[in-house]
Symmetry: C2
Subunit: 111 residues, 2 copies
């Protein structure tokens, strides 16, 4: 896996907040305006814009302003890389458990 | 998925640091003492213990002290839940893309 420490830091940091996860859970269903993102959240529009900045810095959301409306959309590759890192750890861990299982299943096998 | 906002906050926060990810990448290969975890990291043992505390608070690592040696091991369920959240988002996102693809492939279909 390529070494992208700062990118991983930003993505996982972006995910470490319930409001930002809510915004992502909305955006996986399709693009949304900032007002639409703010609607279910009990916070000011300014706070939403600040969270949006964190998501954009992490590269998991992109936005475009047309006229007076800023529309946000998911950048799925960032989340995919975070998932890939977790899958890589689980694969290593499960492989180790499998090997331990084999050792325990054949205690007399020297081969 | 059950609503565990604080738990998700802690797990993703724990992952948002390259030293803590390194420690986890070590622990998926098997238990390790604090000194073993510290060895590849360019930081004081005190700093490693602090990072370990964050990993333990997040429930992704457990440790046990026997005599003078504290041994750390992965608690894989915490990482699995983070992975599950990411998979759920990707599934929703890919489902949406599939539906969009179908709409674009049959523009004259009113049914």
């Amino acid at each position: 896996m390529p070494n992208r420490p700062v990118e991983f830091d930003r993505v996982f940091h972006a995910l470490a907040d319930p409001s930002r996860r809510s915004m992502l859970e909305r955006l996986v269903r399709g693009p949304a305006s900032v007002s639409q993102l703010a609607e279910p959240l009990a916070m000011s529009l300014a706070a939403v814009v600040q969270h949006l900045g964190v998501l954009e810095d992490a590269g998991v959301v992109a936005s475009e302003k047309v006229g007076r409306v800023r529309t946000c959309r998911l950048e799925s590759a960032g989340l995919r890389r975070a998932e890939d890192w977790l899958v890589a750890q689980r694969t290593e861990w499960e492989g180790r458990l499998d090997r331990l299982g084999h050792v325990l299943a054949s205690p007399d096998d020297d081969g």
